[in-house]
């Protein structure tokens, strides 16, 4: 931490870009609650509202990494509480397998996180986000899957 005190220019510090897919009924409402309760958490997280965590396709996650996201969070309802009954089970299976495959090919699978947060857990949502942002900040910028044709 002494390093950041020495630096007079805050912009030198790496600010990760996090994409969070939050399900409409639970985790998005939880994020909303964090907002209305004025609970501060890192502004690095950009939330995308989806109807259910089960609709998050591995293609969307990999696309986020391809476009330069440093971390991706998929947030859904607790098991058994899904608004569509079983969507979060599908999400769990998919994300677990995707993490294994990403690890197998040598990509840091820590950059992908699966989070269960209900609509009443505003504080928990904020805390998890802060933790995740710090973890990604330590891992550094994501360069492996980055592929933007016109930058090359």
């Amino acid at each position: 931490m002494s390093e950041s005190c020495d630096r007079s220019n805050q912009l030198d510090q790496f600010e990760p870009k996090i994409i969070a897919f939050a399900c409409n009924w639970c985790s998005y409402a939880g994020a909303d609650l964090a907002g209305t309760s004025r609970i501060q958490y890192s502004p690095n997280v950009r939330i995308i509202r989806v109807m259910c965590s089960g609709m998050v396709n591995p293609a969307m996650i990999l696309y986020a990494f391809r476009k330069g996201a440093d971390g991706v969070v998929v947030a859904g309802c607790h098991p058994g509480d899904c608004h569509y009954n079983v969507g979060n089970y599908y999400a769990k299976k998919r994300i677990v397998l995707l993490k294994e495959m990403l690890d197998f090919i040598g990509f840091e699978s820590d950059r992908l996180k699966l989070l269960w947060a209900s609509a009443a857990e505003g504080k928990k949502f904020a805390e998890e986000m802060i933790d995740f942002v710090e973890k990604i900040r330590r891992l550094g910028p994501q360069k492996k899957m980055l592929s933007i044709p016109y930058r090359i």
Binding site: A59, K93, R94, M101, I105, G106
Partner: protein, 331 residues
């Protein structure tokens, strides 16, 4: 796969054509080289075209779906162990009507890698390739050579779980045991993260995105593939904005990262469905080890979820399966 089985196969086909089967999908030899391809026979005078040898590599499952659509009668098909598993899985997924299919199961000792064969022989000089026990007999224009099967076998066949078909109407060949062996995947897992990344990037740099792997796989039948939609859902009434803003996850840029995107995505869609026929790796013109990715996925599905890909209910729909234990990488 030996002469005896071929004779019995020919008799069986003759019988079937006389009874209720409209056509049979069988293997036949190409004219200019000993490679075997699939063909359709309709009448008993085409029986002599049938071959069955350790070179009968192609998986007829996708062709079976196509023929079922184009014809109205019963269709016979010659299926090895892996082909029969593919057909069974396709029946579970609703793509094949079991009543309309007559499966001739062949118990398979393993298939010869054609590319390995032509490093030892000139294709135009090879007249016949047959199997006798564990030895491959290659008859050339000059002489006959005997080579042990494991010198020429496909690497994928060494890890075969079901050499003997489990879904069939008639069975030829002696029953064999399969085995589940993930030792080469475990070797790769032991490498460090950087080594693994460099290995896969090195392999995927070779990919030319010809989509041979996707088209050869019996389970890649989506008409709107995520990376290359083959059947865009547009109509004459679609407005221009809709057509212009059609979501495209991947363009046609061909570099190691985008190839990784495509292959990883393709493999994830086969969780719990891949039967291990190896068509993807055989079809690839650039020799990319695609089976390693698929088998890693199979290993995870078995070890983390405890699900053996044989059941009737698709893996993703099984609600009673959640990770039983920690993932193998501890995440």
């Amino acid at each position: 796969m030996d002469e005896n089985t071929l004779k019995k196969l020919k008799e069986k086909c003759r019988e079937m054509l006389k009874e209720d089967v409209e056509v049979i999908i069988v293997y036949t030899r190409k004219e200019s080289e000993p490679k075997e391809i699939l063909t359709v026979i309709e009448s008993p005078d085409e029986i002599e075209k049938i071959t069955l040898s350790p070179l009968s590599a192609n998986n007829p499952a996708k062709h079976l779906i196509h023929e079922l659509k184009n014809r109205s009668g019963k269709i016979g098909v010659v299926a090895k162990g892996c082909d029969s598993r593919a057909i069974k899985q396709l029946i579970n997924e609703g793509k094949i009507d079991r009543e309309r299919v007559h499966i001739i199961g062949i118990s398979c000792p393993g298939i010869i890698d054609y590319r390995k064969l032509i490093t030892k022989f000139k294709p135009s000089e090879v007249k016949k390739v047959t199997l006798s026990g564990d030895t491959v007999l290659v008859q050339t224009v000059n002489d006959e050579q005997r080579i042990p099967l494991d010198k020429l076998i496909y690497e994928n066949c060494l890890y075969c779980t079901h050499p003997t078909p489990q879904e069939y109407d008639s069975l030829l060949g002696e029953v064999r045991e399969g085995r589940r062996d993930f030792s080469d995947i475990e070797e790769l897992e032991k490498m460090s993260q950087e080594e693994r990344w460099n290995y896969w990037i090195g392999e995927l740099e070779k990919c030319i995105r010809c989509f041979a792997c996707r088209n050869a796989c019996p389970f890649c039948y989506c008409t709107e593939c995520l990376v290359d939609p083959t059947d865009l859902a547009i109509s004459p009434m679609s407005p221009a904005e809709e057509k212009a803003s059609y979501p495209r996850f991947l363009g046609k840029t061909v570099n190691a990262q985008d190839n990784l995107f495509y292959h990883l995505l393709r493999v994830i869609h086969h969780a719990g469905r891949c039967v291990g026929c190896g068509e993807c790796e055989r079809a690839c013109p650039m020799d990319i080890p695609l089976r390693k990715l698929e088998r890693k996925l199979e290993k995870e599905v078995i070890e983390v979820f405890g699900y053996i890909p044989d059941g009737d209910v698709p893996f993703l729909a099984r609600l009673d399966i959640l990770p039983e234990k920690e993932t193998t990488s501890g995440r």
